[in-house]
């Protein structure tokens, strides 16, 4: 899973199975933004095998911890996206319901006046 030096754990390659660009690109984004990271990237050795190699090099912290933190950050971002989206959908449905009621009342008003 983790291939790196036993003495220096600030640089390692993590080989994940059953993964592809979906997770690897997103994790690479959060890794890059971490100030402890000097180098990060991912490669897919062969497209027929579902395997991704993520390379992380840091300024001294163990690479494993930095990758874990990056995944944590990604999870928190996803949760925030989910809550923001749910709220926006609720607001939209509520405002549409209000609009529908207003149109209905306008129609019934115009029918009554006729």
């Amino acid at each position: 899973m983790e291939h790196g030096s036993f003495t220096d754990n600030s640089a390692a390659t993590f080989s994940l199975t059953e993964e592809d660009h979906t997770l690897a690109n997103a994790v690479r984004f959060t890794l890059n933004q971490d100030p402890r990271v000097t180098f990060c990237g991912y490669s897919i050795p062969h497209p027929s095998n579902a395997r991704v190699n993520i390379r992380v090099q840091t300024t001294g912290d163990p690479a494993r911890e930095v990758l874990k933190d990056a995944c944590q950050d990604l999870m928190l971002m996803c949760r925030h996206v989910r809550s923001g989206f749910d709220k926006a959908v609720e607001d939209f449905k509520a405002s549409n319901a209000v609009k529908a009621m207003k149109i209905d009342s306008q129609d019934s008003d115009s029918e009554e006046s006729e």
Binding site: R28, F29, K68, L74, R79
Partner: protein, 383 residues
């Protein structure tokens, strides 16, 4: 800090450095901010397409480019533009392309759905071959919530938790006109398969129920979700086959849960796509005849004419969101210095078209959950 660098460089030119505008500390100068947040769509090709990710990219200017979750949470916004039962369009602002693409990929390939996988054909005398008929049946979208079912692996017995059974029996009698077999002929069998397996075991007692191809321990319509709404294909008018006089189709179809990764029939969206918000900027005042020319050039009417009074007219950008980036407005000579087309790098206009199993807002929420699960799996593997 930014002022010192400019000081040393500009000493040789004959103007006072105190004339230069102040760059507030902690912010980038406007040209770098443009480079960081906008894709410039020039006449020949777009530039600055990559997002500047590296946390130390602007370290020499004293600007921290690292991801701060509170910054993200503060700036992130979702605005829903259109929401119907089948499709939705919404804006996500403040997110990066890597994550937007991850959502798109998950929506297309990793959200599970139910689709017909095994077709047991008892009789097929139509002109459509067995395998073609089975392929067509697999592509029919079924209106059922896939979260109520489990995956079926090879060793599992088909039971009421992982299989849905449909029956199709159509016969065109001799003397009657040709009939078209549509998807509403697929009838749901809540009690499981009715085709009897031929068992070589003579010792089995004749009093026991004959063994069929599925082993349902209870009927599916006893479950509360299916009690009053039977499972059926989402659209009843999909043509499966056509029969002439004397032809008959009799088959049983088993639907299981799967992901778009394995076969496109299991994809819950017709498609899902995103585009970045276009931004059209007028670099100089476009007046009178030029304004009329500009307005007529755009095929989607992005520009509008504003009357300034005294017969003078000016062009304004009225609907930048409708811009399709055809670049007609910058194609001719001279126009490149008047109009600039950009794309905002962190504003994504997402469109999701669902095939009907789940409504589109539920699909997106499930896709985000799946990305969270992937992260969690990596974290537990690392610990």
């Amino acid at each position: 800090m930014a002022g010192q660098g400019e000081e040393r460089g500009e000493e040789k030119k004959k103007f006072s450095i105190w004339d230069l505008p102040d760059v507030p500390a902690g912010q980038l100068p406007p040209h770098l901010e443009l480079q960081r947040t906008r894709v410039l769509c020039n006449k020949d090709a777009p530039i600055h397409t990559e997002s500047v990710l590296y946390s130390g990219a602007y370290a020499s200017m004293g600007v921290d480019n690292s991801l701060r979750l509170d910054h993200f949470c503060h700036n992130f916004r979702v605005e829903v533009v259109r929401l119907t039962e089948e499709d939705m369009e919404f804006d996500m602002i403040g997110i990066d392309a890597a994550i937007a693409n991850a959502f798109r990929r998950i929506l297309i390939a990793e959200l599970p759905t139910m689709a017909i996988e095994k077709v047991l054909i008892a009789n097929n005398t139509s002109v459509v071959q067995d395998e073609v008929l089975a392929h067509r049946l697999g592509l029919i979208p079924i209106s059922v919530d896939p979260r109520l079912f489990e995956y079926m692996s090879e060793n599992d017995q088909p039971n009421e938790k992982n299989t849905i059974v449909f029956k199709l029996h159509v016969h065109c009698k001799r003397g009657s006109p040709r009939i078209t077999v549509k998807s509403d002929e697929l009838k749901w069998l809540p009690n499981g398969s009715e085709l009897i397996k031929e068992s070589r075991n003579v010792a089995s007692d004749s009093a026991s129920k004959p063994e069929t191809y599925t082993s349902f321990s209870c009927s599916q319509d006893t479950l509360p979700e299916f009690a009053n709404n039977p499972i059926a294909p989402k659209y009843p008018d999909i043509i499966i086959s056509k029969l002439g006089p004397g032809q008959e189709i009799e088959l049983e179809a088993h639907a299981v849960k799967g992901m778009g990764k394995t076969h496109a029939k299991w994809s819950p969206v017709a498609t899902a796509w995103y585009r970045m918000l276009p931004e059209v900027v007028l670099l100089e005042e476009v007046e009178d005849d030029l304004a009329e020319g500009l307005k007529s050039k755009c095929p989607v009417n992005v520009f509008d004419i504003e009357d300034l009074g005294k017969g003078k007219k000016r062009a304004t950008v009225a609907r930048p969101r409708a811009c399709t980036l055809c670049r007609e407005c910058i194609r001719d000579e001279e126009w490149e210095k008047r109009v600039a087309i950009h794309r905002v790098k962190d504003h994504f206009i997402f469109t999701i078209e669902s095939t009907g199993a789940l409504p589109p807002e539920v699909l997106f929420t499930e896709a985000v959950k799946i990305l969270e699960d992937k992260c969690e799996r990596v974290i537990t593997e690392l610990s």
